[in-house]
């Protein structure tokens, strides 16, 4: 059976008629053609490549029905850049530290870590590794990912101090 949805993704509202059983990840990829969010494990929720942010919290979009997120804010990897083509500091760090090879897991990791760094701005290596439990990478062995996250954390911390934001 179909249902009508009105879903805000990256600040833009989309109205569609979709099967009630449609998962959010498929809505993003097939309905909205936002194919940056990936399906890495046949929806078993083990790989994390489908991670997006829902109302600012990282969640796996294969675990949500699209019809559940009407009236909420979804942010995907396409919405991570700072606008005008300026990459997010995390994206710059990932590039600089060779933290991606095939890139399949990368959007899910970025959307997870971007939120993680807001909650834990000065994480230890152990905390970063723990934050990545829900994201599988088959290429990199994670070490460059860790370095990129540490690098981005330092950059974001210092720019936060410079602008005087935060208590």
């Amino acid at each position: 059976m179909e249902t009508s949805v009105s879903i805000t993704v990256n600040g833009k509202r989309h109205e569609r008629r979709i099967p009630a059983r449609m998962l959010l990840v498929d809505f993003l990829r097939d309905e909205l053609r936002l194919t940056g969010t990936h399906v890495g494990c046949t929806y078993e929720a083990v790989c994390g490549a489908c991670t997006v942010q829902l109302d600012g919290r990282a969640v796996k979009s294969c675990m949500l029905l699209a019809a559940q997120v009407g009236g909420h804010e979804v942010r995907t990897i396409e919405g991570l850049e700072e606008g005008g083509g300026t990459l997010h500091p995390l994206q710059v760090s990932f590039n600089k530290h060779h933290a991606l090879q095939c890139g399949y897991c990368t959007p899910g990791i970025l959307m997870n870590i971007e939120e993680f760094l807001q909650v834990s701005p000065n994480p230890t290596e152990t905390e970063i590794r723990r934050a990545l439990v829900g994201n599988i990478c088959r290429c990199t062995g994670y070490s460059h990912i860790i370095e990129a996250v540490q690098d981005a954390a330092r950059k974001l911390s210092s720019s936060r101090d410079q602008t005087g934001s935060g208590a």
């Binding site: 009630a20 059983r21 994201n135």
Partner: protein
């Protein structure tokens, strides 16, 4: 892994509306965080016609602290339970558990109520809740359409693996954790195949000490075994009178003896027993330490 056809998804805004949605319909499921339910739906273990989405009901989430204890809305996310409960040291087993479920994406979405209602054989929050004597409030509609609340002790709520005392027409709305007596401490720890993975074995302990530091009340529970989340009353009795974790050997031996261990791809029966011994020692130590921290 793909859901079968779903006829309708409804998103009520209040508990009363949610109960109305469920009332006339047979093949409806309540969807909270969905971290367990959606797995069952995607694997077609469950084929719901109607999905009642609970995530729009504001009154179902949140934590209220009273002198008597903490009232936690059933739809409160693990991440929020972990953060807000962590300041109440005596209830630390609950924040220990909520902090280590799955992964951070799961903790951002999964709920305490969902965990208790699902009652998977291998689950952290039911185990921690069991040693903390949680009381569950189940709501339903009377014949005349009035909301009726029923309180059930967690030990009576968790009836078996994937089974609870919740009736089909009932919605779990709130979980109450009584504030333990002075000099109480609790802890939860698990071992799984990866970090934060499903517990192969998880152990929870809660103790209350008297003025001399001896145990006057103990709760011990385990999860991950074939018979699911259980308390072990004989082991609890053996812990009473212990003046430090070092005197807990008898209790730990009883846990190992009474545990329904088995061998499978995750661990041999022998290794499960070994894990029980190690984890039980650690959580009992930790519970003691937290109990005396408040002095």
């Amino acid at each position: 892994m793909y859901p079968s056809d779903i006829a309708r998804i409804v998103s009520p805004r209040t508990i009363a509306d949610a109960l109305q949605e469920l009332d006339p319909v047979e093949d409806a499921v309540f969807l909270a965080g969905g971290m367990s339910l959606m797995q069952a739906v995607k694997s077609r273990l469950i084929k719901p016609d109607i999905v009642v989405n609970l995530n729009e009901i504001e009154e179902l989430a949140g934590i209220r602290s009273e002198e008597s204890g903490l009232f936690i809305g059933a739809c409160t996310r693990y991440v929020d339970v972990a953060q807000l409960v962590s300041t109440t040291i005596s209830l630390a087993a609950l924040s220990d558990a909520a902090k280590c479920v799955g992964d951070r994406q799961v903790r951002n979405r999964g709920t305490l109520g969902g965990s208790l209602c699902w009652n998977y054989h291998s689950a952290c929050c039911p185990c921690a809740s069991l040693v903390l004597d949680a009381q569950l409030t189940l709501s339903s509609l009377s014949e005349s359409g009035q909301r009726v609340d029923r309180n059930v002790a967690i030990s009576e709520f968790l009836t078996g693996v994937l089974e609870t005392a919740r009736r089909p027409e009932e919605l779990l709305t709130s979980i109450f954790f009584p504030r333990p007596a002075h000099r109480s401490g609790s802890a939860y720890k698990k071992w799984g195949l990866q970090t934060d993975a499903l517990p192969v074995v998880g152990v929870a302990a809660a103790v209350t000490l008297d003025a001399r530091g001896a145990v006057i009340s103990a709760r011990l529970a385990m999860t991950g075994l074939m018979n699911g989340t259980q308390r072990y009353p004989e082991a609890e009795a053996a812990l009473v009178g212990s003046r430090d974790a070092g005197e807990s050997v008898a209790a730990i031996d009883l846990l190992k003896e009474r545990a329904l261990v088995h061998s499978d791809g995750s661990a041999s029966a022998e290794y499960r027993k070994h894990l029980i011994g190690r984890l039980a020692r650690q959580v009992i130590d930790h519970a003691f330490a937290r109990a005396t921290e408040q002095d």
